[in-house]
């Protein structure tokens, strides 16, 4: 390897070569993390149901796929900064006369607690269950909403 005297600005590097290497490593992590099969999916917490949590400026959204769960069998409570999701999936017996070819669907109870990343307005939380997908909308508390700050010239 040839020894090249380091000059600022040489090869387009402006700070130091290590920052460029770090940037490259981060870039690789990003590419492989996102596209190599993982698709950015977080390792499951091992608790039913798996959740997708997202946010926009005014709300937090918690979603879960709960096919075959009667919305009346879902119980939700918010306590401080936690959301507790409890419920039961019931599968009615089909009677003695039938015989099974496949039986892959499970019945049972679930309970999961999620710590929310921001404060929410607990009185205005709404939940909808549509086609077996539960969506909980949690409006952010006033303190947690983004606010624009104007910089005054003096």
């Amino acid at each position: 390897m040839a020894v090249v005297r380091w000059k600022p600005g040489f090869f387009g590097w402006h700070r130091d070569p290590f920052s460029e290497m770090n940037r490259l490593r981060r870039e690789m992590d990003r590419i492989f993390g996102d596209y190599a099969g993982g698709r950015g999916i977080a390792p499951a917490a091992g608790v039913f149901p798996p959740l997708n949590i997202s946010e926009d400026d005014s709300n937090l959204y918690v979603r879960a796929e709960l096919p075959g769960v009667d919305p009346n069998d879902i119980e939700m409570t918010t306590k401080e900064n936690n959301l507790i999701l409890k419920g039961e999936r019931k599968i009615a017996p089909e009677g003695e006369k039938v015989s099974y070819h496949r039986r892959e669907r499970d019945a049972g109870k679930f309970r999961r607690i999620i710590s929310l990343p921001t404060l929410v307005d607990a009185d205005k939380v709404t939940a909808v269950c549509k086609n077996g997908v539960l969506t909980v909308t949690l409006p952010k508390a006033v303190e947690a909403k983004p606010r624009q700050v104007t910089v005054k010239a003096e």
Partner: protein, 133 residues
């Protein structure tokens, strides 16, 4: 059974020999299939599929079930946690019995498809009378 806690099961992505031309993920729905003397019933978990998003195709004893999902969420949302993927559903089965195609019925409730396939009445033995000519 009732006291059992539900375990997390990862959604199984469809491994198909046919290539999909449409973008998006496709999963295998979990199913229960049982039969009685009169009919075969298929229950399939397809969360996010509305009743008009289901396609059922029965051809030459091959039953195909597909479901298209509606988009979950709005454009402006940012993900904080993703533990499951969203995608359509597809699965196919071979049905051994003869099915009366005209009486097939299907319904969707809370993301579960219930498909009832009534068995065709077996060809009853007919007595042929021989007339004296």
């Amino acid at each position: 059974m009732a006291d059992k806690d539900l375990q997390v099961r990862e959604k199984q992505e469809l491994q198909s020999e046919a290539e999909y031309t449409r973008p998006g993920l496709v999963f295998n729905p979990t199913v229960d299939i049982f039969e009685s003397e009169e009919e075969i019933t298929v229950l399939a978990d397809m969360p996010g599929v509305a009743s008009d998003g289901v396609t059922i195709d029965l051809h030459n004893n091959e039953l195909k079930i597909s479901g298209e999902v509606e988009k979950q969420g709005f454009e402006k949302e940012r993900y904080l946690l993703r533990e499951y993927d969203i995608g359509g559903f597809h699965r196919h089965f071979t049905i051994s019995d003869r099915i009366d195609q005209s009486k097939i019925s299907a319904s969707m409730k809370d993301g579960v498809l219930r498909l009832i396939l009534p068995k065709a009445e077996k060809a009853k033995p007919k007595r042929i009378e021989v007339k004296a000519g």
